[in-house]
Structures are given as C-alpha cells and as structure tokens.
C-alpha cells in the first residue's frame, strides 16, 4: 500500500538571474512499512526533500501526496496539523522543547490535539527506547543519544504515516549512532512504521531496505536491498 508519492517535485530558491534549483523533478513512491534511506553528498538536496515531505517547506512545483493528502497545497495551519498527525520529524540536533520534561515532550503532539495517550502504546514506546527511567528529566539533563531517543519517541507517539529522520546520528558517537539506528529498525519492524532516513553516512544507509541516492537535486539511483 502506497503511503507516499512524489510527482515531479521541483524546488527553486531565489529568483531573477541566479536561481538555485535544489530539487529538480523528483518522482518516487514509498509503500507502508518500508524503511527507505535517502543519501547524497552535502548540498545534493536531501534535506530540502525532507523539509518538503515533512510539510515544513513547499515545492515550487509538483505534488507530494502522503496518506492520500496533497501536502503541497496545505496552508500553514493545515501543514502544522499534518506534521502533528501524519509526519514524525527527527532532527540531527534533537529539537526537543527545553522547557518541558521528557514525558511532556513525547506527548506534545497529542497534547496539542487535546488527546489522551494510549498508555499501553506509550509504555511500549518508552520501554522500547529505554526512556522509562527518564520521563521526569529535562532535556538538558540527558545525553545526546538519550535526547535523540526522546525525539524518536515523540515522532512515533501519534503513529504517523511517515517518520522522517534527518541525519539522526550526525551528532552522536558510534555507539549511540548504532543504538539509534537499531531503534529505528525496531520501530519499523515491530510497529510497521514507515521510515524515511536522510543521511550521508553510507553505513547508516545500509541499515535500510531501500536506498535512494540524490545528486544535484535529482534521483540518480533507487536500489531495493531486500
């Protein structure tokens, strides 16, 4: 079942004499439950693609359909609600809210919708990610790896259609990087979570079932590994 489809997505920054084309005709689709890695050199356009898929940015042209919704036509409020419910975003620098405890950070997407968490699911996530002892801590009391796990837990709490991870191991040491990738794989396997991992780390990309490589804003390869 298709969960994401990009059709002729272009993104051009600037205007006039020096426009910069970050994405140039991106076409691909992802099925539910897939674990896809998007790789490419720095400046290839992979982060731009992630921002567009996450509803953070809009394409200049083309369509992005996630779970049946064309997110390229959403207004800012609709885009925010889309991010809250359909896309879980994980960033390199965690992007946690420093004024809220770990538990409140994880539950924030639900809180914004005034929804109560499913306690069984919440416990499953925090136990899986090894956060059950840290729920009352503040983000600045955690290590980098722990903060990233909180970010993953937060992105999973709403059971989003798509989990978008932008260089989630870029700020972590080898041990923590390995753990985070294991967590992503675990969530993909046990929760059937669709994951799109943006990384320039080949080793990390090899953990995915499919690798899409981008260069100069275009897909140059789309390799199914298993």
């Amino acid at each position: 079942m298709e969960i994401l489809r990009c059709e002729g997505v272009r993104k051009v920054y600037g205007s006039g004499d020096n426009p910069v084309c970050a994405l140039n005709g991106i076409d691909f689709s992802v099925d539910k439950g897939e674990f896809v890695a998007v790789t490419g050199a720095s400046g290839s356009g992979k982060s731009t693609l992630l921002h567009i898929l996450g509803g953070v940015d809009k394409p200049t042209s083309g369509k992005v359909i996630i779970d049946g919704i064309d997110i390229s036509s959403l207004d800012p409020t609709q885009a925010a609600i889309f991010r809250r419910r359909k896309a879980g975003l994980v960033y390199q620098f965690y992007n946690l809210i420093p004024t809220l405890s770990v538990q409140k950070n994880i539950l924030m997407p639900l809180t914004l919708d005034k929804k109560k968490p499913n306690s069984e699911y919440f416990e499953k996530i925090v136990n899986t990610l090894g956060l059950s002892e840290k729920l009352d801590a503040m983000p600045n009391q955690l290590s980098g790896g722990q903060q990233q796990r909180v970010a993953i837990a937060r992105s999973l709490i709403y059971r989003p259609a798509l989990l978008l991870a932008d260089e989630p191991t870029g700020n972590l040491d080898q041990k923590n990087s390995g753990e985070i990738l294991d967590m992503l794989k675990l969530s993909n396997r046990t929760l059937k979570q669709t994951i799109l991992l943006i990384t320039h780390d080949e080793k990390a990309a090899l953990e995915a079932g499919r690798i899409i490589t981008i260069e100069d804003g275009q897909i140059i390869s789309d390799e199914q590994r298993r």
């Binding site: 982060s47 731009t48 921002h51 996450g54 953070v56 940015d57 800012p76 409020t77 925010a80 609600i81 889309f82 991010r83 809250r84 419910r85 975003l89 960033y91 390199q92 620098f93 965690y94 992007n95 946690l96 809210i97 420093p98 004024t99 809220l100 405890s101 409140k104 924030m108 997407p109 809180t111 914004l112 005034k114 009352d136 503040m138 600045n140 937060r154």
Partner: protein
C-alpha cells in the same frame, strides 16, 4: 586583556552596551531623585514640627530654676536644656534620640519631678521612627513613605542588576572562545568588572548629581507653587545632606559591582565547551507544573508559562517594575482614599458647622485682646468667639466618679501622664478654654446654666476607654451629677458629688490651687473647632470666661502662647464671601498683631488640592516605574526575536499551528501583565483591611469611595502597553521560514 579585548569591544559595540549605560544612568538618577525628594520632604516636616511645636524632644512641666537646668545639663546624653517661654517647664534636647524614653524619667526623678510631668514631642520623634508606647496617634505617613521608598529603590537596583545579567549572558559564547584559547577565569572576571565600571562610572555620577539637583529643584518649585497658599507654611529650604549623596552613590556603585560580579563569576566558571555550546535558548532546570494555565489555555498555557519562567532573568526587571508599580499605585490610592474618608469624617464633616474662619493671633493673651467687638461688627459675621487655652490639673475623687465610669474600671486603664493616684483621688489634666465674656455668657444660656462670669462650666464626658474604636466612641458621664441623664445639672447635693466648686491646680506644682465655682456640668460644648480629650481621655475640660481667668491666672498659669478667633458667617456662605471676610479680619487685626488665618471652604479645597498633588506625584512615580517595566518588556520582546523564532520553529516542527503559537504568545502577554494584578489584589486587600482596622472605618464606607477608576485605568494602561509590546513582536516573530530556521544547525 583590557586593551586588547574589552576596550575594543566597547568601542565597536556601543549600541549593545547602551542598555547597560542607560540602565545605570536612569537608576542612579531615579534613586538619587527619590532619596533627595524623600530627604527634602523629611527635612521640611522636621522643620515644620520644630517651628510649630518646638525643637525639644521631651518636656518636664513644673516650676524649675537655673540650678535644675544645670543639673539636667550634666546628664551625658543631654545636648541642651531650656526653661520654656511661659516658664511652665524644662525643654530638653538630647544628643541621641533613641534614648529619650529611657533617659527622661531618670532626669525627671533627679529634679524631683514625677512621671506625670513628663511629655514627649511625639510628632518629632516619629520622624526619627521613635515611638512612645503611650502615643496612640497612628502616624502612618512616614512609615508609608519609607516602605514606598524601599520598594522603589529595590526596583531600581534590580534594573541595573538585570541589565548586566542580560548583557553578559549574551556574550557567553564569545567568552567561551576566549576561554578555549587560554583565558583564565580570573582574567575573564577582571575583564568583565573593568568593562562594567568603564561603562557605568560617568553615567552613575551624572545620574546621581542630576537626581539630587532635580530633587532640590522640585523642592524649590513647591515654594513657588504653594508658597502663598497655605497658612503657616514655611518656606522649604532645599538641601542635600552629604550622607544622601554618599548613600545613593554608594548604593549604585555597590549594586553595579555586585550586578557585574555575579554573572562574571558564573561566566568565568563555565567550561569552554559549555560556553561555546551555549545557544542562549530557553532552558528549565526541572519540570514545572502549571495546572491552572494548562486547564485554562491548554498546552499553549503551559508553554507560555514555561517560556516566561525560562526568561525569568531577562524579564526580572519588567516583572519587578510592573508588580512594584501596580502594587504601590493600588496601595497608595487605597491609603489616600482611607485618609480622605477619615479626614472628611473627623475634620471637615464634624466641624462643618463650627467655623468658617479661624485666626490664630500669635503671642497674645485673651485679656490683652481688644478687637473682639470690632470683629463681631464686621459685615457677614454671625458669630465670633475669641478664646485662649491654658493647662491645669485637678483631683477627681472616688466619690465624684460616675457609675458608668466606674463600670469600665475608673482610672485603672489610665497611664501615669493622664491620671496620677493621689491620697485623695486621681490627679488629672484639666485644660481650660478661656472664652471671651460675651461668648461665655451666650454659652451658659445655650446650655441652660445661669449666665455668670465668676464660674466655670465643666465638660462632663468621658470616652469608654476599653473600646479603642476612635471613630465610633461611646461617651458617658465622667462625674456624678443630679439627675444623671440631663445635659446640665448644677443641683449638687451633699450626697451627690461633685461639689459646687472645682479646685484647679497649677500644672507644674499641684500645691498651688485656685477654687472656681461650677456653674454647670454639661455634655454640650461651645461651638468651636476644638477636639477634647482626644489623646488624653481622662482630661476634664473647664470652660471659663476671660474675667475669671484674669483673677486666677496668677495662680494657675499655663496659658498657651496664642489666641484663637473663631468666626461663623451666614448660612451657605460662598467662598468669595469668606475670602472677603477673611481679608477684612486680617486687615483689622493684622496691623497690631501677628496673625495666621484660614477659611473653611478654601481649607477644604486646599486640602483636596494637596491630596491630589501628592496623589499625582506618587502616581507619576508609579507610572514611571511601570514605564521602566514596560520598556523592559519592549526590549525583551523586540530584542530576542531571533531566539523566539528558533523556539517557535521547534513548536511548529512538531505540529503547532501559527494560531496556537499566537495564542501562546497572547497567554504569555496576559501572564506578564496579569501577574501584577493577581499579586496586588490579595496584598491590597490585606493592606486595606489593616488600614480600615487602624482607622476604624467600615468596609462599606471604603467601598463607597474605593478608587476603582484610577486603579482600573492604571491596569488597562499596563495591559495595553504589554499587549502592544507583544503585538509588535508578533509582527516580527510570525514571519518564520521554518525550513530556513531548521536548516541552520547552530540554532537547534
């Protein structure tokens, strides 16, 4: 390091250090202005008391000679001893005022005087915050000034501290780099302290001097504005005590040193990595529960409160200033309202029909004054009374006391100064009101007593001293009369004391007596603007005619220095008519005597103007405080746009809509502006409750005059200003390009 780093930094970042300079200047200016004004107001009040009541600290009444003066002069703490002008006692000035209450009884004993002969200059002592436990007057104004001064000073000190904290925190990253390349913590501290003093020294000095000059200028301005309006007002001599200058300079310098030292120390203790990593983002050390705001506004309420808590330091000045301003404004308004109700009830309304013009003829005795008839003949004069006051003593025996008085314990509650136990009764104060003969005869007729000039009328009333409510006192007969309930009785029988005579005793020597026939004991007093037994509840007031005074004054003495003239004009007299009448009286008497006169309507208007003036002055000060707070809100909301954009980007990235962020922003503004109101309301209720208790006013009386309108206007002003600051900031903050903010790694 100073040459290479700080001086260059200051030169190249003039704008960013401007807030520190301005904060130092404004704080020094306001602090010295405030202290200067306070000092000048205090100085004026002390001068006024010394002029009106004398500069003495304590008085021992009685007949004393030069030998006694010398004996007192030998006491260690005594600065000066004089015999009063009317020779009624010794006036003592001490070196150290705090020992007045303990030293005076020793001195009195050494010259054979009893405790009942001691009195203190309570008004003057109150100006030095010395209270006699027997002084029942509230004297709240001076402590209130001190409290407001302290609150304002604290707020100003906080401004400087905050300016430094914010300025230094903004440079953590920079000092992290410096530290990473080898700057020692001590070097960083010294560097920051040098910067602080280089930035502030000139501005502090300028602010202090300007503030002192402004306070003296304002004092001079009060002479110009009020000089001719207030009878008896002396010219204010603006001054600046060196201590005030040193104190304000010292406080500002110490504040700056501490304000710079605290963040400098914190900054120097950070590891280079911590400092470099610092992104200035909002952080909380532990989770906070905000159930009320979460309940009211949902997640936005919690985020808003947390954001404010995380910005606590940056917003400290704003919060403190707004809270102090609103609190001071509300309490000041309530205080003046209570004071106005109290003055209106106890003075203007009570004495509404007892006078139109009052004149005080200086250093004149009633029997020397010859213009009484001429005053009565002036057009528009319905009634005129000329009177003088004198002090004497009298013994009240057990048999003379009324049953009602005995029922509350007789003299058992009386302090020594009010009633002294003697062998044959209690020696009490017996103030004399010496009326001109015609007025006395008229008074006798008014109360139904035989109009004669050879006797006295005694005010036969005493307050229930067990009931401290001075606003609703319960009065009863002081002495036994026959029959008890009638207003007047001169049918004294052998079985029903008091007798037909009153034996008055000299104030200083109770052995010297004068015997006065009693024409009546009455509960009705002459129509005069006088209060009887207001501080000494046990005094037994005697009204006598001038003719009788001439006969006994040689024995009794104790006459006051001044003479009083009370004039009543026609009913519903206008201000213009009273002004004309007043100037006629001034012309008539002023040529031969030194005179101070006032008229009721002008006095009422002047009183209102004075209260309005003080209200405006305090109100302006509160507005100034609020402006400081609001200015800080503006500088925070507009100055940290970058930081707020990063914060909002975080929220948006996890699905918070722009509307929800705007709601959070509004809640934040509401908390900031609403907090002063929420803190003030319970404190104001407590303060008003205390004021009402102290002044024995009812809640309904206060509510009828409660200053809701100015308080609401002030509240709306604060709310609107904070809302404007946030609205302006929102215009900048809302333009978030989420992708751009998220792209910048250093921001997240």
């Amino acid at each position: 390091m100073w040459k290479d780093f700080s001086s260059d930094y200051i030169k190249n970042n003039r704008l960013s250090s401007l807030s520190v300079r301005l904060s130092a200047f404004i704080s020094a200016l306001l602090l010295s202005l405030l202290c200067g004004l306070f000092y000048n107001a205090w100085k004026y009040e002390v001068e006024r008391i010394e002029l009106e009541e004398g500069a003495w600290h304590s008085r021992i009444t009685g007949r004393f000679d030069q030998k006694d003066v010398e004996a007192v002069q030998h006491f260690a703490n005594v600065n000066k001893v004089t015999i009063s002008n009317d020779a009624s006692g010794l006036l003592i000035i001490f070196d150290d005022m705090k020992d007045i209450l303990t030293d005076t009884p020793h001195i009195a004993r050494s010259i054979g005087a009893g405790p009942e002969q001691i009195s203190y200059n309570h008004a003057l002592m109150a100006m030095y915050l010395i209270r006699d436990p027997n002084d029942k007057a509230p004297r709240l104004l001076f402590p209130m000034f001190v409290v407001i001064l302290l609150m304002a000073s604290f707020s100003l000190i906080a401004i400087i501290h905050n300016a430094f904290a914010v300025s230094m925190n903004a440079r953590i990253h920079q000092f992290g780099i410096l530290s990473s390349i080898g700057a020692a913590p001590r070097q960083i501290r010294i560097c920051l302290m040098q910067e602080a003093f280089a930035l502030c020294t000139v501005w502090i000095l300028a602010g202090n001097l300007l503030g002192i000059a402004a306070s003296m200028g304002l004092s001079q301005l009060s002479n110009i504005l009020l000089g001719n309006d207030i009878p008896g007002r002396h010219k204010a001599v603006p001054g600046c005590h060196p201590l005030v200058l040193i104190l304000t300079l010292g406080i500002t310098a110490i504040t700056i040193a501490v304000s710079a030292w605290l963040p400098a120390r914190k900054l120097s203790r950070l590891s280079p990595l911590e400092a470099i990593r610092n992104t200035g983002g909002l952080q909380l050390k532990r989770p906070r529960k905000v159930p009320v705001l979460t309940f009211l506004f949902g997640a936005e309420g919690e985020l808003a409160q947390n954001a404010l808590t995380a910005q606590k330091k940056a917003l400290r000045t704003a919060s403190l200033s707004l809270i102090s301003a609103f609190l001071a404004f509300t309490i000041m308004q309530c205080f003046f309202t209570t004071s106005v109700i109290s003055t209106k009830e106890t003075y203007f309304e009570r004495y509404q029909d007892t006078w139109d013009i009052m004149a005080v003829v200086k250093n004149t005795s009633a029997d020397e004054f010859s213009e009484t008839e001429a005053i009565r003949k002036l057009g528009g004069v319905e009634s005129a009374v000329v009177y003088q006051k004198a002090s004497a003593k009298r013994i009240v025996t057990e048999a003379e006391m009324s049953e009602e008085m005995k029922s509350f314990g007789g003299f058992s509650h009386a302090p020594d100064g009010a009633a002294l136990r003697m062998d044959d009764g209690w020696l009490v104060n017996a103030p004399l009101l010496i009326l001109d003969d015609d007025s006395f005869l008229e008074y006798c007729r008014q109360i139904g007593a035989e109009p004669r000039l050879d006797g006295a009328v005694v005010r036969n009333l005493i307050r229930d001293v067990t009931n401290p409510d001075f606003r609703h006192p319960v009065y009863m007969s002081y002495l036994k009369t026959q029959p008890a309930d009638t207003a007047v009785s001169n049918d004294v029988t052998p079985d029903n004391p008091p007798g037909a005579v009153s034996i008055l005793r000299q104030q200083g020597n109770s052995e010297i007596t004068a015997e006065l026939p009693i024409l009546a004991y009455t509960q009705e007093v002459p129509v005069l603007r006088e209060e009887y037994a207001s501080t000494d509840y046990y005094e037994l007031v005697h009204f006598i005619p001038i003719s009788l005074w001439k006969e006994i004054k040689g024995l009794i003495g104790g006459a006051g220095e001044d003479l009083y003239i009370r004039v009543i004009g026609r009913k519903n007299v206008s201000l213009e008519e009273l002004d004309t009448l007043q100037s006629q009286i001034d012309q008539l008497i002023g040529q031969s005597y030194t005179l101070e006169s006032e008229n009721r309507i002008r006095e009422y208007e002047l009183n209102n103007r004075q209260i309005q003036g003080i209200r405006t002055a305090f109100g302006s000060f509160c507005v100034l405080l609020a402006i400081i707070g609001i200015g800080d809100v503006f500088s925070n909301t507009l100055g940290f746009v970058h930081q707020r954009k990063r914060e909002f980007a975080r929220y948006m990235s996890i699905g918070m809509t722009p509307e929800e962020i705007r709601k959070m922003f509004c809640v934040e503004a509401l908390i900031l502006a609403g907090r002063p109101v929420l803190i003030t309301i319970p404190l104001a209720v407590i303060a008003v409750g205390y004021m009402l208790k102290m002044s024995y006013l009812g809640v309904d009386e206060f509510m009828a005059e409660a200053p809701f309108v100015p308080i609401v206007i002030f509240m709306v002003f604060v709310l609107a200003s904070v809302a404007s600051a946030y609205a302006l900031a929102w215009r900048n903050v809302r333009k978030i390009c989420l992708a751009e903010v998220l792209k910048n790694d250093t921001m997240i």
